[in-house]
């Protein structure tokens, strides 16, 4: 479904990605793990058209995404729930969700998807006309995911959805991710919380200073002694 080949991305003179290749097949959950500054966020931002690659290719369902602005990428069926959530705190929860569907014209579909979001995240339903800034961290993360889903994506990019959340909430978020896959959304998940992420994903990549250091099925990665010491904090 998504195919990235030999991707190079720089910020000015600083190279952030140095030849990253990865792929995501339809229906998969693929995890990207790696330490701070490894280039995980950069990878997602390049897919969604925020950054332009120096070289390399990104194809989605056979068509190149390189050079497309974010708006076009969203129209192709990819949605990006960014690191730090970036919800619009001064807008209401309902408005945040509706903005997720900004490029859709089917008002009936939008309405039913809105209901679906409120079903999936009941906390949001109760407070739909409140300012999103009043939500707690976990609720904001749910709103961010909901907002991404409102564009009706086939591929969802999730950047550290568990960042800074209490374990109980993290549990909930990961459950949502698994549910989403069940509903047919393919997921590319970036996480520092590698342990949890590997448990729910099919395959995984390890990024190190802008390069893929390791890749394979998640269950094997979970057992890999090198990985365990480096990223899972167990020995």
């Amino acid at each position: 479904m998504l195919e990235i080949k030999d991707l190079h991305v720089s910020y000015g003179k600083i190279a952030a990605l140095r030849g990253v290749s990865l792929s995501v097949a339809e229906g998969e959950i693929v995890t990207v793990v790696g330490g701070n500054g490894a280039g995980k966020t950069t990878t997602l931002r390049t897919i969604s058209g925020v950054l332009k690659p120096v070289s390399g290719s990104i194809t989605f369902e056979g068509e190149s995404l390189v050079g497309l602005v974010s708006e076009k990428v969203v129209r192709r069926g990819i949605s990006h729930s960014p690191e730090g959530r970036l919800i619009f705190g001064r807008l209401s929860i309902a408005e945040n969700l509706r903005l997720g569907a900004y490029n859709r014209k089917d008002s009936a579909g939008i309405a039913s998807d809105l209901d679906r979001m409120y079903e999936m995240f009941p906390v949001l339903a109760d407070r739909r006309s409140q300012r999103a800034g009043t939500l707690s961290g976990g609720e904001q993360q749910m709103l961010a995911i909901g907002r991404s889903l409102m564009s009706n994506p086939r591929l969802l990019l999730l950047d550290e959805p568990s960042l800074g959340l209490a374990p109980l909430i993290v549990e909930q978020i990961f459950k949502v991710i698994v549910d989403l896959r069940q509903q047919g959304v393919t997921i590319l998940l970036v996480e520092q919380n590698a342990n949890e992420a590997l448990r729910i994903s099919d395959r995984a990549y390890v990024l190190e200073t802008g390069e893929v250091a390791m890749q394979g099925p998640s269950d094997q990665m979970l057992k890999d002694p090198k990985l365990r010491t480096a990223y899972l904090g167990v020995d």
Binding site: Y11, G12, G67
Partner: protein
């Protein structure tokens, strides 16, 4: 010691050139050349806040006005004073101060004004600081226009002596370059640049952010005051419009063309943008279309921002030969190399 040799050679060359110009040029060209020296003083000094600490001030002309009026009142011949400034306190009424001292006094008064002003406006950054400093200029203009007993309002002070020779304007230019260079390429300079690039990080590393910005602002104001005095004694009169926003704008253009954050860039920008408007004004007369010169300059500024934002020099310095030029710690890259390449 070895570093001083090329600098001395440069100074000797400058003196020779100025002496030659002084002998051979007519008064029109001498005036333009003198103006060039004054603009070097103004641009190099404005670079301190605008280019080095990243406090984009638009109030340079305000400090010029303070220095210019102050020096003008001090040097004005007694006869003129009796005629024009009848309401001055007697001690001022009866004194005439030599030009160099009056110029320094003008600079000091500007610096003195910059202290409380800086304490207030430097609590702001970015656009807010820019507007607040324009506000300062408007306040100063208001005072100059309305404080009749000292400034004679819109009529201004005329009958000053043409003290500003080539030697004075370039002498002060050399002093300004020397002082700003010494500040820029020293631990103080590194502090300034680190504030420009990331004030928070600078503070974390122990840089005294506010104090550094304030010092840069005050030193800049001092030289603006000096420049104001030089300008006053070149045109031999001061009115509020001598120090209007137009002057600030021109100096900003010089700064941008040269490259904010480069001392030699400021010099180059000042030289170019002293000459170009003169040529354009000739063109304007030829075409008989008022406004052409300003229009072209404004258009060029926009084009510069779009196509060569870092100016001619960026934050680099011009050196004759790396080895001989004054050694400078290389400053960090310009803040304006867009850190987030965004597609839009």
């Amino acid at each position: 010691m070895r570093r001083a040799i090329p600098v001395l050679a440069g100074l000797v060359l400058l003196v020779a050139l100025l002496a030659l110009a002084d002998m051979s040029l007519n008064s029109y060209y001498l005036r333009i050349l003198g103006l060039m020296g004054i603009y070097i003083v103004l641009t190099v000094s404005l670079n301190l806040p605008n280019g080095f600490t990243g406090d984009f001030s638009l109030g340079h002309a305000a400090f010029m006005a303070v220095g210019g009026y102050c020096a003008a009142v001090l040097t004005m011949p007694l006869v003129s004073k009796e005629l024009l400034l009848t309401e001055l306190p007697t001690w001022l009424q009866e004194t005439v101060v030599p030009f160099p001292i009056a110029t320094v006094a003008g600079g000091l008064l500007a610096a003195l004004v910059a202290l409380p002003v800086g304490l207030v406006v430097l609590r702001l950054r970015g656009h807010y600081l820019a507007v607040a400093t324009i506000g300062l200029l408007i306040v100063v203009q208001g005072i100059a226009t309305n404080w009749d007993s000292v400034t004679r309002g819109a009529r201004g002070l005329s009958g000053l002596q043409p003290h500003t020779t080539l030697w004075w304007s370039f002498g002060w230019a050399v002093v300004t370059i020397f002082v700003v260079w010494r500040m820029a390429y020293s631990p103080f300079g590194r502090a300034m640049v680190s504030i420009r690039d990331d004030p928070l990080a600078a503070a974390c590393r122990g840089v005294r952010v506010f104090r550094t910005r304030l010092v840069a602002f005050i030193v800049s104001a001092f030289f603006a005051g000096v420049g104001g005095s030089l300008l006053a004694h070149q045109i031999t009169a001061v009115t509020p419009s001598t120090y209007s926003f137009d002057v600030t704008f021109l100096v900003i253009i010089m700064l941008v063309v040269g490259g904010m954050g480069s001392v030699t860039g400021s010099v180059i920008g000042a030289v170019i943008m002293t000459v170009v408007p003169v040529l354009l004004r000739d063109l304007e007369r030829e075409l008989d279309m008022v406004g052409t010169a300003q229009l072209v300059i404004a258009g060029a500024l926009i084009a510069f921002m779009i196509f060569r934002r870092q100016g001619l020099m960026g934050t680099r310095e011009f050196r004759l030969a790396g080895r001989f030029g004054p050694k400078a710690s290389s400053p960090s890259p310009a803040p304006d190399q867009s850190q987030t390449p965004t597609s839009s």
